[in-house]
């Protein structure tokens, strides 16, 4: 019972997307409309750590929490690429993760999207040129949207995902 009292005391903590990025709000507005047509406003996200330092993971895990609640846009993380519509890839692709990443992409049914999160995914960041690194994500699987930042904050990631949804329609 104490639990529910606390729940009532705390109230709703989900923040609206910050107005600091007005285009974000604009994007969300019309993405929401178009995405509903394309993926029925229900997107399964499969997160793939292709060798990241887990900085991005920390930010991504923030997405699920009450503050940036990505479920309110009909996005949710899924347990298998078979259930996924969108791959959220982080980190420089290490040699060991090259094949798994490609297999994950193959395992995802069409139509599907890829969002590369973080500078490492974009251009291997500080790991560029390492003997253990195979290359940026784009060199392994086709990437629709990249989110820069080391690490990018949850709002930016959310914005990237929503932009990708916008791409989907234009791509077909």
């Amino acid at each position: 019972m104490r639990l529910f009292a606390k729940i009532r005391r705390v109230g709703l903590v989900t923040e609206p997307l910050p107005d600091a990025v007005p285009e974000a709000v604009a994007v969300v507005r019309d993405i929401d409309a178009r995405a509903r047509r394309v993926l029925g406003r229900a997107v399964g996200i499969r997160q793939v750590d292709a060798g990241s330092c887990n900085g991005c993971e920390i930010e991504i895990s923030g997405l699920g929490g009450p503050t940036y609640d990505l479920e309110r846009f009909g996005l949710h993380f899924v347990a298998s690429p078979r259930h996924a519509d969108l791959l959220l890839v982080t980190g420089p692709v290490t040699r060991n993760m090259e094949v798994p990443l490609r297999k994950t992409w193959e395992a995802t049914p069409d139509p599907k999207l890829v969002v590369a999160v973080g500078d490492c995914a974009l251009n291997c960041g500080v790991f560029a040129g390492s003997y253990a690194v195979a290359g940026p994500v784009a060199s392994v699987i086709p990437v629709d949207v990249t989110v820069a930042g080391c690490p990018p904050d949850p709002n930016t990631i959310l914005l990237g995902i929503l932009t990708a949804l916008g791409r989907l329609e234009t791509r077909r």
Partner: protein, 315 residues
């Protein structure tokens, strides 16, 4: 079965299929609010179904026709079960075709098919899911049987129509210990059978803790849609059973417009209440270890036993 009968059953099937995602959406919404989140709108599950039916399918090369047939059997058997449950009118045209035992074994047919579908692609997760699902299904049978036994003892019949009619006729029976404990036992079994907390966490993404979802990891597109829809429908079936076998008031006993309207309203309201209750419970409790689940089912077995014994001590 005459034309009106067929129409009634068809209408009930459509209504059930339409309601099921809403029930789950409501549970998710309330849970989100209890986690201080804004959460997805209630219609989110409908959107997911629409999306899944629109997507491609990826099938493992090891999978056989069993893998492709399983979702249809799961969906079909669950739908047939829903056709037997007095959701809006009682007695149903199919009332004499099957009773509570048939209902339970039809649900078992769905579980059986899904477990085979999980084993077929030869993935370790699928095997794990099937094994656990069958374990829980097997261990919950005795509790279900005893709960049904006490209901049947009260009504003098195992057919759902008669059971509902008896409670309508004799409201005091709803207060009897047998009734209450049968309800409690069935509620625990429902949590186990529909993969809710504390038995299985419907929101988990960690394969090693999965039970139901582990079997569906290989499914995609329309097949996945069928399985998801079937599992939501199964939840609705159990809710409707809990609502209309134990508190059948509002059910239409004749096909008058007013009666049907009342029935629709009351049933939807009952479903809503149960959904909120489940959401609250799931916020309150944590998942049990897999090997403590048998203890929970033993509790519901004892509750069923209490239900039966109290019925024959009143005698």
């Amino acid at each position: 079965m005459d034309v009106t009968g067929i129409v009634c059953e068809a209408a009930q099937a459509v209504l059930g299929l339409a309601l099921a995602p809403g029930v789950v959406g409501l549970i998710r919404r309330v849970k989100a609010r209890l986690q201080n989140r804004r959460g997805a709108p209630v219609w989110q599950p409908y959107a997911e179904l629409r999306k899944l039916f629109g997507k491609d399918m990826v099938v493992s090369p090891n999978a056989s026709w069993v893998f492709r047939a399983a979702p249809f059997v799961v969906f079909g058997s669950t739908l047939v079960v829903y056709l037997l449950v007095p959701a809006f009118i009682t007695p149903l045209p199919l009332n004499a075709a099957a009773d509570l035992f048939a209902l339970v074994y039809l649900l078992l047919l769905g579980t059986f098919a899904l477990a085979l579908g999980g084993l077929d692609p030869g993935s370790a997760f699928g095997g794990m899911g099937s094994s656990r699902e069958m374990t829980i299904a097997a261990l919950s049978e005795p509790a279900i049987a005893l709960a049904m036994l006490s209901l049947a003892l009260g009504a003098g019949s195992t057919n759902l129509g008669e059971i509902a009619a008896r409670t309508i006729a004799n409201p005091l029976a709803a207060l009897s210990a047998g009734h209450v404990f049968a309800f409690a036992a069935l509620f625990i079994v429902m949590l186990a059978e529909t993969g809710r907390l504390p038995v299985d966490n419907p929101a988990t993404h960690l394969e090693l803790t999965m039970i139901h979802e582990a079997m569906t990891l290989e499914y995609s597109g329309p097949c996945l849609a069928l399985i998801e829809w079937a599992s939501w429908l199964k939840l609705t079936v159990f809710f409707t059973l809990a609502a209309n076998l134990f508190l059948p008031w509002g059910l239409a006993t004749s096909l008058t417009p007013a009666g049907l309207a009342i029935a629709a309203v009351t049933t939807v309201a009952k479903l809503g209440v149960l959904a909120v209750a489940v959401a609250v419970i799931e916020t309150r409790i944590a998942k049990l270890r897999l090997f403590r689940v048998p203890e929970l089912l033993a509790v519901s077995f004892v509750l069923g036993l209490l239900a039966v014994t109290s019925s024959f001590s009143v005698r």
